[in-house]
Symmetry: C2
């Protein structure tokens, strides 16, 4: 495979996943800070807008000139091994789709969920995740919001999301209204990643960056800022672009260390790291 | 795929990987304890015999009637991005092969190693791991010791071993003298695991069990005893047997919690868990 050519990435291609800033920060402060640093696109988690409601959140983003990329995130199907749990997963998925439509997001990320407590039946959980996509697809299409199927790192397969490789995510896509997320942190180790990115041509709905720290001390919340670890982010971005991806490069650095930092200093560093390492 | 039939596993099929007991326990105590609980096969780490030397260790195992399954473990190639580091990896690999031959082990586990410090070039590290297998194969064959290529969990790809899937391990095998390790802890999440186990028919040199705890709090040393987690160990064992595997089921539970436990109580529990969950 020939290596794709490098080119610099303008700040307009940056999307800031608000999970990077963490819970507990008021949305007006986040929005003002994004504007101060020239960020034009964000991806909220539900905790970012649930106090004020999606409509007020949408108004706040719109009035600040911020676009919404994707909303995080739909799960709960893997664990749903009873009819009430299944109905709850459907209801929550539908609600997130409603909110995404209100926010003007093009997609919701779909991580599917993990295993029920005390279960060792991974195949059944994965089958439920597949069924969850089928069950939500009509709801998603009706709202013009895509389901962005996201493989998570295998280390969180049991308790967060049991879609573990990009190849598996691609196989779960069932036509218009479905696509995949390439999250470099979740997938960098995958021996089949290059092949899978090529196979995902035309289906990549989101491309997310953060870095793998050595050592890593927590399975969920110890991601590094771009440049703090060992992932060749630029190469993966170029591979995604070679597969036709032209969207935003979304910074999603889930880390307790970052969550406690001063907001302006953190966003300034994110922008600097984006310019240098993506 | 039809499900393989279940059958009970006799204690003669148990191999105890001594990494389960941890460093710091004198080998004579370990050997005596294994015999008390009817364990006939063990797999040492280098720290188990390095004080006394491999020859004395071999004598101790032999006089106690213990067979040695595999010796852990060959690494260092992924990191070896300079000629001196490469020579050191070759020398260490050769020495472990010598020790394995002395101990009467059928194989050494080959995890290959991770990335050099400050490198983000995963492909180069993987190429070195592949070259390391080729470089050691003649040495291994001369000693009648196989290289058992072991995929590690992707969460330790950067710092321990960058062979991350069974499919990748199979592709690294280059004929007689090479084969693979199926370690349930490292590979349970793999969407292609069933297919890869079938493809490994005739090449499975070792089959290892432990359990994935929810939550998991450490990336290397928080494994659970069989039954403490969410891996369907019996099913994976039956799949390996359907692929022709007839060797020992090796208990390798790397966990700081276990290392501090009373030796007799720990080995007794290992035997009980083996009977119940494998």
């Amino acid at each position: 495979m020939t290596e794709p050519e490098e080119h610099a990435l303008p700040l307009s291609r940056l999307s800031l996943n608000l999970g990077t800033l963490g819970p507990g920060r008021p949305l007006p402060e986040i929005v003002a800070c994004c504007r101060r640093y020239g960020i034009a696109t964000v991806s909220p988690w539900r905790y970012n807008y649930e106090d004020m409601g999606a409509a007020a959140g949408a108004r706040m983003f719109r009035e600040s000139g911020l676009s919404v990329n994707t909303v995080c995130r739909v799960a709960g199907f893997g664990e749903a091994d009873s009819p009430p749990a299944w109905r709850a997963a459907i209801d929550e998925g539908r609600q997130i789709l409603d909110e995404a439509a209100t926010l003007g997001a093009a997609s919701v990320t779909f991580i599917g969920g993990g295993l029920p407590a005390h279960s060792n039946d991974l195949r059944a959980a994965r089958a439920r995740v597949q069924d969850g996509i089928a069950a939500l697809l009509g709801e998603a299409q009706a709202r013009h919001v895509d389901l962005a199927v996201e493989p998570l790192h295998p280390m969180v397969a049991a308790d967060r999301g049991c879609i573990s490789s990009l190849e598996q995510a691609i196989a779960l896509c069932i036509g218009p209204g479905t696509g995949v997320v390439v999250d470099c942190y979740n997938s960098w180790w995958d021996p089949q990643l290059e092949r899978a990115i090529s196979a995902a041509a035309g289906m990549i709905l989101a491309f997310q960056v953060s870095d793998w720290r050595v050592p890593t001390t927590d399975l969920a919340l110890d991601r590094g800022l771009m440049g703090d670890g060992i992932i060749d982010l630029r190469r993966l971005r170029l591979l995604a672009e070679a597969a036709g991806f032209t969207g935003c490069v979304e910074v999603e650095v889930l880390s307790r260390r970052l969550w406690s930092r001063d907001l302006d200093a953190l966003v300034a560093e994110i922008v600097a790291r984006f310019r240098e390492h993506c």
